[in-house]
Structures are given as C-alpha cells and as structure tokens.
Symmetry: C3
Subunit: 315 residues, 3 copies
C-alpha cells in the first residue's frame, strides 16, 4: 500500500531548530518553499497520508490559544503519519519561567521527535530547545517571530508569480506588537524585497531603527504602488486598553478598503494572517474578494509549508 | 495486512450532505441502515480498524458542548482510518454569523474531506456547506434537526424486529425545543410509522401544525398501546428559566415509570437520546432495565450509524 | 513494513484490571517491569510505533486534571497503535456517583478495549469496572492508589542496579493525602524493601496502623542511611486550607536540600512523582542534579511502564 506514494526527497537546511527567519539562509528558505509545493499538490489527493514521520511523536505545546495555527500544525503532522499530542496550557496560572522549564523537561523525557511551541514570551523556543534533545519549531512567541507564517506568506506571494526580489511589500497596522511583521520583514529583506512599515503613531515599533524599511503613517501613502499589501491583525482588547481610537475610527483611518487599495498597483495582492477583525482592519467585501485577497490561500499554504518544516527538521 | 479486512460495498445516497432527515429518500435511509449493520458487527472485532477513510481529514466542529456525540463521531472516524481534528468552540464569545463564516473558510482551506458541525442556530450546517467544498454532517443544530440521532434510533428499533411501517411511536417531553424529536418525526413519518407527540402545555411546539401527528398532553394517554416510547431530554436549566414546575413535579406528571409504562404495549421499547436526567424524565430502575430500555444500545448503534454516514458521504 | 518490527512476547498477569498494586503478585510486578524494559529501548527508536494494539480503542477518562499522566498514557497507547480518545470531565459540576455510572455506561457501549480512569474518589476504578466489559486501569484515584506510578518508580530504582529486597526507602511529605505513597508502599513491601514514612504531624496518615513501616517526624532522621529518598508532592492550596505553616516554613523543615540529603547514603537516589513545587518540597538545584535526582528518568520510564500495562491488559 505504501508503494504508490511517492516520498519526496527531503532537503537539508542549516538549522536544527526553527526559532526564526533571522537564522535561515536564502538557500534554506528556498529549500523549504520548494518542498512545500510538493505537499500542496499532495494535499489535494484523496489519501493525504504521506508517511515520512510514521511512528514519530510530535508535541504541540501551546501556552497561548490559537486554534488556527494549532490545527494547521496538527493536520500537517498527522498527514505525515506522526502521532500528535496537543498540550494547551493556560500559562497565566503558572509562574512562567518555572513552568516552561519543568514542562519542557517532562515532555523531553517522553522522547518526542519534535516540539512545536507557542508562547507569550520572546525566545521561549530557544529556552525550551536548550532543555530538549529534539528539534523545536517556534509557532509564534512574544513580539519576536512567527517564522512559519512568514514562510507561508512568501509561498503565497510566489505562487502568484511574483518574484520576491522585485516587489514592494507594505506591512500595515499594529507593527509594534506583531511577530508576524517581524518574521516577514526578515524573510523579505533577505530575499531583496522592498519593505515598508505603515502604522499609526500609537503603533510605532520601539525597535524601528533595527529595520531597513521605509515608514509611513498614512495608509494610502504607505501602499502607493505596492505589489503586496499585508494587513496585520490587531487585538480589539488592545485598542480598548490603550485608550486608542474606537474600532470605527481605526477602520476609517487604517482599515483597508477598495477605495484606499486603488493607491496600490492594480494587480496588488492583499494578505492577512487571520483571524480577521472584519470592519476593523479590512473591508468585509474586500476580505472575501478572491481577485484581490489571498487570505484563504494563505491558510491552505500554511499546512503545506508546515509539512515541509516538519519533514526537514525531524531527524 | 489489509487483505484480511473485508471492505463492505458502500452504497450511494441522493444527498451530498447530511443536513437533515427531511432531505433523505426512503431508499437513502434503508441504505444507511443496511451499511450500519456491517459496521456494528465489525465493532465487536478486536481490530476495529477498517481503512475506508485512510488518509482522509475529518473535522469535528462543535460550537455546543456535547461529549457524547463528539466522541461517537471521533471513534467512528478513527475506526475508518481517518485523521480526526476536534475543534471545540465556545460560540458564545463570538459574534455568531461572522465566526461561523470565517471559521468555515479557514477550515475549508485546509482541505478537509468532511466536516461535522454542531451549532446552536438552525441551518448552520447548510450555511457552512455553502462555503466548504467538502460534505457536511449536521450533528445537531438549533431546534431543527439531529439526523444521525434519528438514524440510530431507527436502527435500534429495527434491530428489535419492529417494522417501522407497523408501529406506533410516542415521542414524549420537551417537544418544543427538541431537534431529536424533529429528526425522528421526519424519519418515522417517511417510513409510515404512526407518530404521537406527547407534551405538557408549556412544551407545546409552536410549529405543531407542520407535523402529521396525534397529540396528547397526558403521558399515560399518549403512550397507550405504543410500541415505542421515546423520552426526550429536558434541560434542567430550562425548567428553572421558564418558571416551570419543579423537576419533582415534572417527574410526577411527565416522568416515565414502570407504573405509567403499563399503558404502552407489554413489549414496548423505551428510548432516550441521553444523557438522562435521572428521576426527571425517567425512573432510575427503568432506565437501567435492559428488558425495557435500549438506551445503551442506542449509544452502541450510534457509532455504527455514524461510520455508515461518513463512509457514504466522503467522496 | 511490519516485518521489521519485533513484537515482544506479552506475559500474562493474575489480574484483569489494574486497580492497585495491592492486587498484584510479585510475579505480576516482575512481568510488567521486564516487559517495560523492552518498550524503554524501543522508545529510543525513530519509528516508535509497535502495533500491538492496532485498531483498538483506548479511552482516557480523566475526572481530575493531570496533563502529565494523561499525556504519558496517550503517548503509550498511540505508540502501540491504538486509537486514543481523551475525555476530560470537570467532575465538580456533576453529581459524582451518577455521572460516573452513566458516563461509564455510555463509553462502554462504544466498545472500548480499555479505559484509563482518574478520579477524586476511592475505588472509582472498581466501580467503573463493574459496568464496563473491558479492562480498566486506575490512573490515580482519591487517596487510594496510583499503581502505574509505583511501577515506574520501581522500574527507575531497579534500573540503577538497586535490588528492591535490599534497600531502605523513605517516603517523605504529605503521607496523609498521597495515593502515590500508598501504591509505593504496597509494591515495596511486597518486594521486601524496608519502607519508612516520614511526615510532619499535620500530615500523619489516619490509617497509619495498616502499614508495616518505621515512622519519623524529622526529615533528616527519616532519611538516615536510606537508599532511596522519595519526596511527595504537596498541594500548595492544601497548605493554605489547613492553616498550615507557610511554604517557606514547610521548606525549612521538610524540604529536601543537599544539606539534609547528607544524612542518607552517599549514593542515595531522589525521586519525586512531579510536578515539583520548587523551593517547597525540594531545593531547586538538587531537583535538577542528574547525579542525585532521577525525576526525568521517572517520566521517561512512565511511558514504557504504561505501554507494558496496556499491552498486558488489553485482551
């Protein structure tokens, strides 16, 4: 029964773990994206099982809730034939440092082949990798990185025949708190895209001088002639907490609409990491317009990209 | 290793989705119940794996908590060899319409082969089917339908050598809020059973004129000479909310006891979709009396019937 | 593909269920521990699948939260090729007796091959075994037993070349509420170890006269010349509830430190069932000192021991 499944050749990359895009070489990125293509095709088959990780144990260790990312990794690992263990931990009730350390040590003792971690604190994935003997994937941590998101975004852009070294990408919204923005910046910058950060004053990143970007505080200016408009998710709670403008006001100034999108290139693609706050970051109809928005493609590509990362990293 | 497992022939039915019994033909129902027989026998084997859905991805999308139905579908899908993803969503914290739409779109992008949905709102399974490209099974929605429950009830009745076209079925209790009652009505009415609705005034269904039934407001009258006494679950909370009689008073007037059951045929079967409110809908000893009550058989048959529905609907 | 996996010979034991160590013979214990060795080696392989329970349905029925034990059983069952269903039930919201009975009956109807139960009430695993037709494993109940913990502790001790009939084991801390202590007592006593109970007055077990042990109320006295120092977990909440000394005071008198450990044999091993309350039961550095503490080995051995128990008990 296995004879009919064509197992692809799995490339090597320079890293043992996937902590961030920052650590990856251009070749690493290209290798991951090439392999993802094969899995994307495979995922359209009826029998989606491709037993590259048969008999392996993969642990999803999520200290922050994230149904979408968790399920994407869970499906990816299961399609590769691995046993998947989900651990949802409400970190808030624990003294963080301790809990992470002890939890990692406990899990590590169970001989996992790879651990996927999501955590509210920067560098949690590096901390846990010190304790574990297996590879670790950062599935989003603090305001640091979320590398598989940047990889799936790059995959999505390239699948629309854009060359990364020949495009302008405007990343727009809550730049201060976004790990998605940071991972995308590192990837796009490595690949020679022109990157712009577009944000209202109250979302100005404190570490802005670290990034080689043009900055804008007006959305239409920021996406002018852009090839890619990448909208970020904002936390509604955050808006309330910071005593910021109402979501209506935010939408008026920083929400993407058909009208404002005219400022970008006519064939510009709209990306969003999801889940969308409809009517806050993006106009309803535009979010669902498959001629402009590639948001559901991002989700589909996410499974393929994660299958590639898992296949490459598990020893 | 597969050679020893006899894969049954999977029949076709007229529907792409299983939204409700209403849509099924008599032949569809018979086809599902016939196939269920094979799975019921198979489930008594040591190796319960029958890889009809090997490599497929099945998603359990539950917006209402329901351990029993969720686990029944989970076991059914796993025994068929599918990868199962459970999503328990507390719908209450979300703006319903949006959440259902966006969640469906996200899940759909992950190439599932079938989605099972439970939701508090009528027609949620039809709404989600518009967005998804895969088949959808309604696992209970609003006060509309719960089709697999009616199928497993029919299976249970027939397995006791009752002919559906030759029996009187009394459905008793909270008729107003019961999707189980509605699905059972559609099935039994199609199959030419005589159906009675038996309810206290405060549980009179608002849409009563849609149903071709005899109605009763006294339990003993309602089950007189019945072949099947189907008790419904009531929500204790509901009784409190509506300022209804106490559960004690409810039990006195509408709880099924050995004494009241004398009014039905001597060999009458007692069904209940579970979980039972003991001492409210049904007398303790009677619920556990395997000569009268077939409640645990219903649970066992549920797994087989769901295996049949999954096998038939996945393309 | 299966030809390469060497399926070990599975021994028989005298019991159908694993309710407690109390019921096991010395031969039973030795058989379980022998088989565990094979699984421990197997768990270091890349492909950890060993399809002894292929096609079987194992249910984890946890009425008390316990990530660590739950995951250990989940991994064990999955590595043996079983389908695993996790049921986390917050028992508190249910009338306990009823819920256990009805839940068991429902699960039993789904033809599981084995049910693992964790419950706050003594003898819950025996109660549920009366209802189910399949074997039951007690994964910790009330203040009664937690047999797999004692088995993995014994495995850990023996893997360090200690002979059980030739050692002194000091079990220290909250003896009153500890099921771990009771299971360990039964095992070690059967195997002719010398067992000591070491506890502050307020944790004196009410059933102390049932145990053939030396007792101590001072930690250093209690571990004097011991081969094994087994620290118990205490519930911080419990300390608050009982109006006991602060955790600081507890640590000063009953927390294990390098200093106090000098009283034991120089090569004494430190065990703890986890999760540790760092700085309460045990000094931070000592807990992590792999030359003294075998806490992470206990976790690793736990998976192997549970694989052995599952393999032996499933019919």
């Amino acid at each position: 029964m296995l004879e009919n499944i064509k197992i692809p050749k799995i490339p090597k990359i320079s890293q043992t773990h996937l902590h961030g895009i920052k650590d990856l070489s251009i070749e690493d990125i290209n290798n991951i994206l090439e392999l993802s293509k094969i899995f994307k095709e495979h995922n359209k088959e009826k029998d989606k099982k491709i037993p590259i990780l048969k008999g392996r144990t993969i642990i999803n260790l999520f200290f922050e809730p994230s149904t979408r990312t968790l399920i994407s990794f869970e499906i990816a690992a299961k399609r590769l034939g691995a046993d998947v263990i989900n651990m949802n931990i409400e970190g808030s009730s624990l003294r963080k440092g301790e809990s992470l350390f002890d939890t990692a040590q406990t899990l590590g003792a169970m001989n996992p082949d790879l651990v996927i971690i999501r955590h509210g604190v920067n560098d949690a994935s590096k901390e846990i990798a010190k304790i574990l003997e297996c590879p670790v994937i950062n599935a989003g941590e603090g305001v640091n990185e979320h590398p598989t998101q940047a990889l799936l975004d790059a995959y999505t852009i390239m699948s629309h025949n854009r060359k990364l070294n020949d495009i302008t990408v405007s990343i727009c919204g809550d730049l201060e708190h976004s790990r998605v923005a940071r991972s995308n910046y590192y990837l796009l910058n490595k690949m020679k895209s022109k990157v712009r950060f577009v944000f209202p004053d109250y979302f100005k990143p404190k570490d802005l001088d670290k990034y080689d970007v043009e900055t804008f505080t007006n959305l239409e200016d920021g996406i002018k002639d852009a090839d890619i408009v990448m909208m970020l998710r904002i936390q509604n709670e955050r808006i309330k907490d910071l005593n910021l403008p109402s979501t209506n006001d935010y939408f008026r100034s920083f929400g993407l609409t058909y009208e404002k999108l005219k400022s970008a290139k006519p064939e510009a693609l709209v990306l969003h990491p999801g889940p969308i706050n409809r009517g806050v970051e993006i106009e309803n109809e535009l979010a669902d317009d498959v001629n402009k928005s590639v948001i559901t493609e991002q989700v589909e590509n996410g499974v393929a990209v994660r299958m590639a990362c898992l296949s490459i990293l598990v020893k």
